[in-house]
Point group: C2
Amino acid sequence: MSLVRIGDTLMKDFTYYSPTKFVFGQGVVDKLGPQMADMGFGKVLLVFGRGSVERSGLLDKVRASLEQAGIAFVEKGGVRPNPEVNWVREAISLARAEKVEGLVAVGGGSVIDAAKATGFGVPYEGDVWDFFAKKQPIGKCLPIAAVLTIPAAGSEASGSCVISNDAENLKLGVSGDVFRPKLAIMDPTVTFTLPAYQTAAGVTDMIAHVCERYFSGVGPVPVTDNIAAGLIRALLEAGPRALEKPDDYEARATIMWTGMLAHNDLAGCGRSLNPTARAGGWESHGLEHELSAHHPQITHGAGLAVIMPAWMRYVWREDPSRFLLFASDVFGIEPAYDGSASQEEAVEQTVLAAIDKLQAFFQSLGMPKTLGDFGLSPDDVDSLIETLRISKGEVFGAFKKLTMDDARAIYLSAF
Amino acid sequence: MSLVRIGDTLMKDFTYYSPTKFVFGQGVVDKLGPQMADMGFGKVLLVFGRGSVERSGLLDKVRASLEQAGIAFVEKGGVRPNPEVNWVREAISLARAEKVEGLVAVGGGSVIDAAKATGFGVPYEGDVWDFFAKKQPIGKCLPIAAVLTIPAAGSEASGSCVISNDAENLKLGVSGDVFRPKLAIMDPTVTFTLPAYQTAAGVTDMIAHVCERYFSGVGPVPVTDNIAAGLIRALLEAGPRALEKPDDYEARATIMWTGMLAHNDLAGCGRSLNPTARAGGWESHGLEHELSAHHPQITHGAGLAVIMPAWMRYVWREDPSRFLLFASDVFGIEPAYDGSASQEEAVEQTVLAAIDKLQAFFQSLGMPKTLGDFGLSPDDVDSLIETLRISKGEVFGAFKKLTMDDARAIYLSAF
């Protein structure tokens, strides 16, 4: 282990602020209204997706809890996966017309992100897309409560919000503390009915959230690294259990809680080169966002299952020690310095074995392995690069600076 | 590992709320005033201890930062280790007379706890000791900012506050979310000058905070258990480094950040038998509080270094699997089921080896091993039991219910 930590760098300065109140457990949906009343929520806009929360009866429980607590609300459903800016614009108009003072999101990351964008869009006079186009810094935001139904994006606590713009073929994200939810209601039993594919994509997304921070171009930060590896190991154990037995409470609870911790920035403390920004270059997310913006059939997590290992194989030589620590702490793989290979070969074998193990895990959950599995062909790469350039500029990334040529090579290596 | 996790129990329902904003890094004291202004702090009472922050120049930096940000303040120093209720009563009077709206604590756990007690004492008409005597539930609290100088107690983020009452020979704690600090300024460089003994006692206290939750009478909660073990491993690595080289930034930073995480309740999520209470029975803390209440020369962490291993040896048979997981995940010790001993013997050897390793680590930091090292004799135990009974009642504890006879046996075993 000490070999791995040669070349220690200092724990970087950071601000960590995760003010969400989490109410976690069986049946906690009933606590939504009372908690919101305690926290001083006024009239809210109740936001949800396209019917599953209605069919499951969850939305009725939410309505009943709000009513019993005396919280007035209006409703707007119809948030789609990869939520679109036009829905947000409509929601902003409705929120203003109804003079709501907060939002309740019932759903997964898409619904919560749609609520966040509505929340910081309402107090802003211009068009909400200005924030995503980086024409305008985010100011105020209405308070948000989230009832989580799909653990994956970590949006119930994160300072992240990603919205698609179909007209411009863009999917862009913003960061900020002001729109972190005030309250998150997390009942693992509501995830018992999640389809296997969605469960698997969620677990993949969570692991990616940890990895983006883990491979952030900063040397070891032992306490944060230990937490990160512990989160991933918990997911490696719980993911297959939830697929095998969808009502395994402990597996579902582990996935739900770990998914939050994977993205509330705990796993990035001390790992950011910029003390006012999130740790990591978010290379895999950047590459994946183009995929699902151009090809909406691609679930974000499934895209990551393909892109992240390809990115890792392309960049690991930039800092092999980081990947050796990952191999050791996540998978228990150590280089065999036994003379059967040179030290350099032993390192390469270990790093590639760890990346292979990670990709094999994703596949074991039913995730695809190549971009071809999504029906894409190498000819589709040019259009991805075209919008990636708009999203990220000519060069992006923290672990290794990636040019558009690098990005093209990574996409092509994923076929 | 799978053997260890036989007998899984469900992750328990919980609420997790750690709303403190943490500003961490070199020179961050300068950010105190601007951050407080951003957060809307009004006039504050500036609270500190007995001179070291004055001598080091830190207090002047704090004053300058407040002044530059336009935050008015009055001062009250003199908080002693194991802060006393009479100091708190004086501070409450001063805060009322000066009409302060918040508090800034510059110090370690004692100073922050004194600020907390003042903060929830001000809005209460009766005597502040009523809260500790459990005559009155805590209501409101003035907002608190903390500039941490001694990492140990975790008070900069915790919902804990412990105050001594000399007249009654009591040291009692209260819990609650309302007095968690809003802001914590954490600069590891201010801890470079901490004496070795205080550093060691702090690290011991942090490990105890994790262990009280780890051995809470609840079965495995993999994600929380992984985090807990990761926190302890980080301290096992950083503690000796900080003693060897007091200005080792990374070691100091690891200790400071881990100390917070050890006690903000992250390490207890899902591990509480009561969803509205902190995880754990806090047996070692309960036993230690009597020691330092009766014998003020005993530093809390040093008392824990003696009491916790004694408690562990007394109770481990209640759930050996829990201690086996601890042995494996913290120290990498696995039972040798190789036929050289019965399975029962192998388990006992492993558990006792882990407890021995933990105690040896405390000793390697310079902590005492026995109550005799503090100059106590077995004759002193009766008076400890007398006040323990007042603090805890006839029976207390979560991992194993302890009677006063059990408590006596644990104290006596620590000689």
